[in-house]
Symmetry: C2
Subunit: 196 residues, 2 copies
């Protein structure tokens, strides 16, 4: 999502600093004034980075908003252990921890609403959740291959249910999902998918 | 959520008409300009109903926004048939049909975002989903009592998963849930909850 033209060397410490300042200002503004108020002008003023510099990195506003959301996620590499339950808990646990951060989950709500009227934000937001969902699915698919889960297990739907449980809890019930909640959800799904 | 003081006779056809006009204008504005633009001033202008009249029915804006969402839901009484699968499909089917209406689901996204900064909208929105979730739970509880579902089935979590699947599909994956999707979700959950 970043401009990777030769004119923009991502290893230049000044560029790293100004990118970080822009993302930080964007995160703050999204939390304070919502997406409609998070204009390039406001971001430039808050970050102290010139509008022309911001536009060089992010020619449009939508990818900047989604990059701001991404910037608050640790991208720890997921290493499956082969223990189906533990692997699923590790994957949903990472998302649950982020959703327990009120600023981050508020940004999610703001961008989901923005996605309704901005196809570019919609596309970038969808890509954002896809990676974790595909990892969940691949863990479940390995369970099928190992004979632990039923051959006809709908692993795609199960992966959606895992993500859905967390978003529903946070955005609809407005309660953060605890680790105990995650175990209940994972166990309920695995009960339905296991070979008998 | 409605002012039921003696001065406001809900059976008076003029009052019924003006309330309907206000709700219609609110629905339109939420879809067009989002919650921050859906002010009492804008609603008065669009509906042709005086601000003082609007304030008499809805002393605050938040309950009006949530009433607008409610106003687009058919409140058909749910009559459980005793067929667990059919009853669950009927309950989630009603929500899925509403979420297939782009204007309605867009209002949901807008109000979920508004709930993040407005505790009154948050509380009213939570109450909004509670009724259907409790109906789902009572259907599942009857399945437990009948011995069809396991005695230790976590019916509360299962009801959340049903709702979560629909919201996730529409707001995150941005695809409306089809009737076939609902059957897959209900069957996956029932598989996990059935007695063996």
């Amino acid at each position: 999502m970043t401009d990777t033209s030769a004119a923009c060397d991502a290893s230049d410490p000044r560029i790293v600093r100004s990118r970080a300042a822009v993302l930080e200002a964007t995160v703050e503004l999204l939390g304070e004034v919502g997406h409609s108020g998070t204009t390039i002008e406001a971001i430039a003023e808050r970050s102290g980075v010139a509008k022309t510099t911001i536009y060089r990195h992010w020619p449009r506003r939508a990818p900047l908003l989604v990059d701001a959301l991404y910037s608050r996620v640790e991208h720890a590499a997921f290493e499956p252990t082969g223990d189906l339950r533990a692997d699923l808990l590790a994957l949903v646990g990472g998302l649950a921890r982020k959703l327990r951060d009120p600023n981050w989950s508020r940004m999610v709500a703001t961008l989901l609403d923005a996605a309704e009227s901005d196809p570019e934000i919609a596309e970038l937001s969808a890509a954002f959740t896809q990676q974790r969902r595909e990892l969940c699915r691949s863990v479940l698919d390995r369970g099928v291959q190992a004979g632990e889960l039923r051959a006809d297990a709908d692993t795609d739907t199960a992966a959606q249910l895992l993500g859905g449980a967390l978003f529903y809890k946070r955005l609809i019930l407005r309660r953060p999902a605890t680790d105990a909640d995650l175990e209940v959800v994972v166990d309920l799904l695995l009960d339905g998918l296991r070979t008998r």
